[in-house]
Symmetry: C2
Subunit: 522 residues, 2 copies
């Protein structure tokens, strides 16, 4: 099969699966992303390996579950032995360029232990998670030299030490005082940045420039937006577009007779984002801004797609559009993400494959379960790189994209959470080693195993909103046992022998590249 | 508590737990090892994490289960991110010296990937598994420059390109022709080396010299013998000491009505060592040599202990004596090791702690379950090094050595096997990813889960010889389910967040040494 020449791997941050019109949002119209879906396949059951930025992204970048790559939460480094998209392509002498966010936490201890300088060469490669950073901006803090965004802002008249905070996620309130977008109460105000200069526009510019400069040269680009993630502030006109719109139902906090799960309860009680989002007026104030940020994203995707068309790149470019996790937006009495409700772990995933083999599936919706670890092997496969089966735990989606027969596709998905860094842990009085949770979701059931605590169980057929937690209901003991067995099987099947590829194992004692031959056969 | 000044960590290779008189062998007398046991604690239920050299040793050296360190069989490298005894001590500016075998398979791909030279500096440190090699000799092949043994042999008159094979594991048969010790039929012949020059004597010399040179300086030494591992050839008089002795019963091949487990059956049919050891005449021919090699080892331990006494080092030296796994010696129709019968996974373990706190337990037998991953934290603890809980999966045996109350000790042990490199896999037509097996052993039951195949189950109370495999017996479904649940729990509790220590997790957002501060809090 022909390979694709270029890959454009677009990630949005905290974009909830159902906040796109192609996924059925009744109010928010996202025609540009919808058009991409019409050209490719829309995956309707795509799940992330963790509903937290770092672990989810590291699963996208390594093709491995969180237990396997170990970067379990936002402060945990990506070990230098974990190979990423950039590593696999570097071995083929191709670069994976980055415009935007990766949230790779550098493994400084590991880099130091092998005697490398994190500033240069291979040390910098590890620090960057294998990406070649055109412009890296993770958001949340003053951009460093790895981003040109602060200088760009200043050059466009946004003068200050920290123009992102001062202008892009900052506003002036009715009295003319500075109002930070970090505070939800300011979500209705327009950012002090023109939409042409927002992070979303800037990173789109960066991508368009890179693709244009490449001309007919092949390229691989990860365009990774930091929106619609909090801070909740959008530039004009996006701040106001949905101010009076219907912002939809708010999923409640379960039937009163249900004792909330201890971790759920602790999240609600310990975390500011949950406390804020438990109030309807906050949710009604925030959702219009979130919708505006998604609309802005869609407009920028439209601009990008138009440029790709103008440059005639749709003929040879695979485009992946995805998100690292969703956003509760007040559902279940929660803000942000982390826990395993559909709002957090289910994501939009659209893949456009330019090859003729994919013509049969264009514009279709794929209902089979896919996981974010499938994205990397899909891209590798499209680029003609053999997927290293002894390392990568995802499956290439190529047969699904090409309408090929597959008779052993997965019937469940997995996701994980490490809440040891969170105040919820302290409230529960648990040690850092006691805070691992795992989700298994089948077509009907969602089971969450919490180390040392009772599980959660939801019947998604009878209770699609996940309001009735059957985790302590004696009638469902058999279901829980079956779901737990799936979890155990999954864990026992993780890739453990990553130091030698399967072909070398097959060859037996011959041809070990990695063996000190002096040692010989036992 | 006072720390110990020195640690002497002695490992034998393939020494079966019941082939020492202190463990009850009726014929073979090992008074020197027995005396060590009389001074310390003899662990009567010590199990290795795999009954294969490399995975077992890497578990000893890292304090981690095989799934966690990933060096699953004898050809699989130890990843450079796995920290060993040598690493943990290097962080305290202390060296762990090596005399003998480690079987560390260098992670050349990993070393190359971080741009290091495996010949020098940190690259060599990784290649050596963190040990400072006084003299490394893994056996099995011509020693390289990391050992002085070949030159030593030549200097003592054993002239040749490969004096170990030519003299130490070589003999002359009755007709004066060369007879290799690799061939079991030559096991009765005396090696062409004087016992003073055998590997066992040579490495003991090496240890004595090192300890003597250190004088009152603190030291840590791993003395790691390559015997009584195959090749089965002993120097005079050890080759003949047990030639006419009672070499004990041979455990049979299960009751005829039991269909052997497919993997067991494949081992017996595919592997030369098993085919040979299935013949009683071979077993009767080999066991006297094995016993002779153990006797030789005991004599050398006696010489070493006498030197330690002479140097007054018993007052400040912790001594660990252990083995990497056992040897079937024909039991169960098997040779060598690998599978999960007691002959292979159970090992001798004796620990002498010089401190007064250990006086209460001297000469006692400890019946609680211990695992080989406990040895490293025990040594670290004795040396005053805090055990890194986020990495090490074993438990320091200090309370057991000191007779302290422990109310939550483990009630089962785990071991693993990767048989993907073995002909048994080919015979079974399985892929390299389908060859992982796990053992859980409680006081009563031994359960082995084979990926994709039926399990094994033995009732060790009713059937201590493990002749009756209940793995397919419908009456034991509940027992198997309970044992499988233990395995699942174990796997879910492996250490996964090794990139950040628990104290840093506790400190929360403050004090991250490993975080790129530019990224900041999300």
């Amino acid at each position: 099969m022909q390979t694709v020449k270029n890959v454009l791997f677009i990630m949005s941050d905290q974009l909830r699966w159902d906040y796109l019109s192609c996924y059925g949002h009744p109010v928010l119209q996202t025609p540009n992303i919808d058009r991409l879906a019409a050209r490719g396949v829309r995956f309707d059951a795509a799940y992330v390996q963790s509903a937290v930025c770092v672990p989810s992204r590291m699963s996208y970048y390594t093709g491995r579950y969180v237990t396997s790559h170990g970067a379990s939460w936002n402060y945990v480094p990506l070990s230098i032995v974990q190979q990423t998209f950039g590593d696999f392509m570097a071995a083929r002498e191709r670069e994976v360029a980055l415009a935007g966010k990766t949230h790779v936490i550098p493994d400084y201890r590991g880099i130091e232990r092998v005697g490398l300088d994190p500033a240069t060469g291979q040390g910098a490669h590890f620090r960057r998670g294998g990406f070649v950073e055109l412009d890296r901006y993770d958001g949340h803090a003053v951009p460093g030299p790895e981003s040109g965004y602060a200088d760009y802002l200043r050059a466009n008249g946004y003068v200050g030490d920290d123009p992102w905070n001062q202008y892009v996620v900052g506003a002036l309130d009715e009295a003319g005082n500075f109002a930070s977008g970090w505070l939800l109460r300011n979500a209705h105000l327009p950012a002090r940045v023109a939409k042409e200069h927002s992070e979303t526009a800037y990173m789109t510019d960066c991508a368009i420039n890179y693709i244009g400069e490449k001309g007919e040269q092949p390229w691989i680009l990860h365009l990774s937006y930091i929106k619609p993630h909090w801070p909740m502030m959008a530039p004009d006109p996006y701040h106001a577009l949905y101010r009076d719109a219907d912002t939809g139902p708010i999923v409640g906090t379960a039937k009163p007779e249900h004792e909330p799960h201890p971790v759920l309860d602790a999240y609600r009680r310990a975390h500011e984002d949950c406390l804020s989002h438990s109030k309807e007026e906050v949710v009604r104030h925030v959702r219009p801004t979130y919708m505006g940020l998604v609309k802005e994203l869609d407009d920028q995707i439209g601009r990008l797609m138009a440029e790709l068309e103008r440059m005639d790149r749709l003929k040879d470019t695979m485009i992946v559009f995805c998100s690292d996790h969703g956003d509760f937006l007040g559902d279940h009495g929660l803000g942000e993400k982390e826990l395993f409700y559909e709002q957090a772990v289910r994501v939009p995933l659209i893949i456009y494959d330019p090859r003729a083999e994919a013509d049969a599936t264009r514009g279709t919706a794929e209902k089979r379960f896919v996981e974010s670890i499938d994205v990397l092997p899909t891209m590798l496969d499209a680029l003609g790189v053999p997927v290293p089966e002894h390392i990568i735990e995802g499956r290439a989606l190529t047969p699904l994209l090409h309408g090929a027969a597959v008779d052993d596709w997965r019937d469940c998905v997995f996701s994980e959470l490490d809440y040891s860094f969170r105040d919820a842990r302290r409230l529960l009085g648990r040690s850092p080693d006691e805070c691992h949770a795992w989700m298994v979701r089948t077509a009907r059931w969602k089971y969450v195993h919490y180390k040392g605590l009772r599980p959660q169980l939801f019947d998604l057929q009878a209770d699609p909103l996940e309001l009735e937690d059957l985790g302590a209901d004696a009638r469902y003991e058999q279901v829980r046992a079956e779901m737990h067995a799936r979890l155990a099987d999954w864990q026992l099947n993780l890739k453990w022998r990553t130091g030698i590829d399967n072909a070398s194992v097959e060859r037996g004692t011959e041809g070990w590249k990695n063996i000190d031959m002096k040692i010989g056969v036992w």
